[in-house]
Subunit: 324 residues, 2 copies
């Protein structure tokens, strides 16, 4: 069978994860990586795969079946996704929740002859699917989402912008008591600080006042002020040795009723590598994207549109026999 030819745009953490995942996927092959950097300076794990300048992508339309857009939501995707969707089938993991509706619209306008699956990944993505599925089945209920234990890039960046901070990593941690009360079916209401803790590991520059840094962190609006936050000062060596992985995960818990009976539906992820798992979801969605395209079903889509069979390389009869 002909393999699905995958392109990767952006060779950061998710792009590197995507490279690894595509190589391990028998029904796909990696046809190229597209970067804004000088291609000669982009060293892939597998040197047989060509690296192209991002502006050369338009000449590679015949060589790529689905393009995985691995850039960031904050700066790259709002422009990149419509641009690429006008030429390629694309999958992205745009995760700025508040801006998804307008993003969907702009990608849809561009994807006239292609399929674009946006906001795949795990939240948005798998967690969104669980929220939709649970509330559709048990409408008399409430859905709770918890994140962590995991590294938040946004919060880690916020720490690193503080004067006197040399390096830092922030973990988001769900509070056990809150999770337990949701699981018990009590349908609690929470203040922000009752759901998650924020744990910061900070390397301070020599000669800085740690108490000042700690106070700046704990009072930082939006990021930390509304949470119980712990700050531990450690050495650069310890930070690199103990905190350079990118674990993440979380839970979607729906507690709902039918008459007098309580039911709890729970989905959880425990991920050692957030970017590699995100890439894994994008790769499965690339298969779905190519199926939609093959059926002439163009335009922007989300995980809410995907028949799950489209995610699998197995034929339908095998899925029914083995997994139903």
């Amino acid at each position: 069978m002909k393999k699905i030819r995958i392109g990767i745009v952006g060779y950061g953490n998710v792009g590197k994860g995507a490279e690894k995942v595509v190589h391990a996927t028998p029904d796909m092959e990696l046809a190229g990586v597209f970067s804004r950097r000088n291609p000669a300076e982009v060293i892939l794990a597998d040197s047989r795969v060509p690296v192209y300048a991002i502006q050369d992508a338009e000449h590679k339309r015949e060589a790529i079946d689905v393009m995985l857009l691995c850039g960031g939501s904050a700066t790259d995707l709002a422009d990149q996704c419509p641009y690429f969707a006008s030429m390629f089938n694309v999958v992205c993991s745009f995760d700025t929740h508040a801006k998804i509706p307008e993003y969907l619209e702009s990608v849809n306008a561009a994807a006239k002859r292609n399929c674009a699956i946006i906001s795949s990944g795990w939240d948005p993505g798998l967690f969104s699917m669980m929220r939709l599925m649970s509330e559709s089945i048990l409408p008399d209920g409430i859905t709770y989402t918890f994140w962590g234990r995991g590294v938040s890039q946004g919060h880690s960046d916020a720490l690193r912008r503080i004067d006197g901070v040399q390096n830092a990593v922030q973990y988001t941690i769900p509070i056990d008591k809150a999770v337990a009360s949701v699981r018990s079916g009590q349908r609690p209401s929470f203040e922000t600080r009752e759901k998650h803790l924020r744990e910061c590991f900070v390397v301070a520059e020599l000669g800085t006042d740690r108490a000042v840094i700690e106070k700046k962190i704990k009072t930082m609006p939006n990021y930390f002020a509304d949470y119980d936050t712990t700050v531990s000062f450690i050495s650069e060596e310890e930070l690199l040795a103990e905190h350079s992985k990118m674990p993440h995960g979380g839970m979607v818990i729906h507690s709902g009723k039918t008459g007098a009976h309580e039911h709890v539906v729970e989905f959880s992820l425990n991920l050692e590598s957030n970017p590699e798992f995100t890439a894994s979801v994008m790769v499965a969605c690339a298969r779905a994207c190519y199926r939609f395209y093959g059926k002439g079903d163009f335009g922007a889509k989300t995980v809410f549109d995907i028949p799950l069979a489209y995610l699998s390389p197995k034929d339908y009869a095998t899925l029914v026999k083995e997994l139903l």
Copy 2:
């Protein structure tokens, strides 16, 4: 907006659950219940809903949009589902895993002008969706399914067929140690008795030898011999007071890798009423069934075919805004 008119075939535990769920669902109305019993003897929770003899269903084609088939897999559905699918859109929860492929084929042959969603419910159903989703995203992995703690009707029936047993309830219980080892990412192999316990509550007839009953249970092939089984003799009063609910649930846990990184994807259900939750899934699938029908997408389908948006009464823009 016009409501989806639902019919229920079979007024047992699931049928009663479906009645309750449909009444609580604003975009649906219950148009009739069809029974093999004398309709005059079938007393519904809401007496304004008409009860019909099952053979009169063929005259009600214009009055029903989707028929929920709430009969049993062992005896009813193999004949009922193709019969009804030739006249109506139908949703069933056929759960004899080994026979699903031929069942799908026979229903598909009958559903020429209608849509039939088979094997909805939670296993097969939601658990099947999780198995497919997880292995598609992390193909280098293993999926484990655990059931319980919950009442198994089949095993309870097997107990009641033993001479000297007046009444009995059997609980299937996942073994904590097995669950923990799966969650740890070890990808263990299990003997049957290492995954689940079987806990039996038995009411013995007066004058019977309890030791004989206990031995018969523990050595019963297929049902109990391969498990660690506990047998407790209790009074009929205690059985009715403590064990007449129908809780169930379970877990689908997928443990998989990307390179050196381990990930665990887990879905769990904790249900106070198995039949009411099963009915809730069927009702959400009825909405999907009616959507397929509206698009002229006929034939037999499974949960693997359903775009999740079809399960919800909300419009697509709202889903994207609120849940993605």
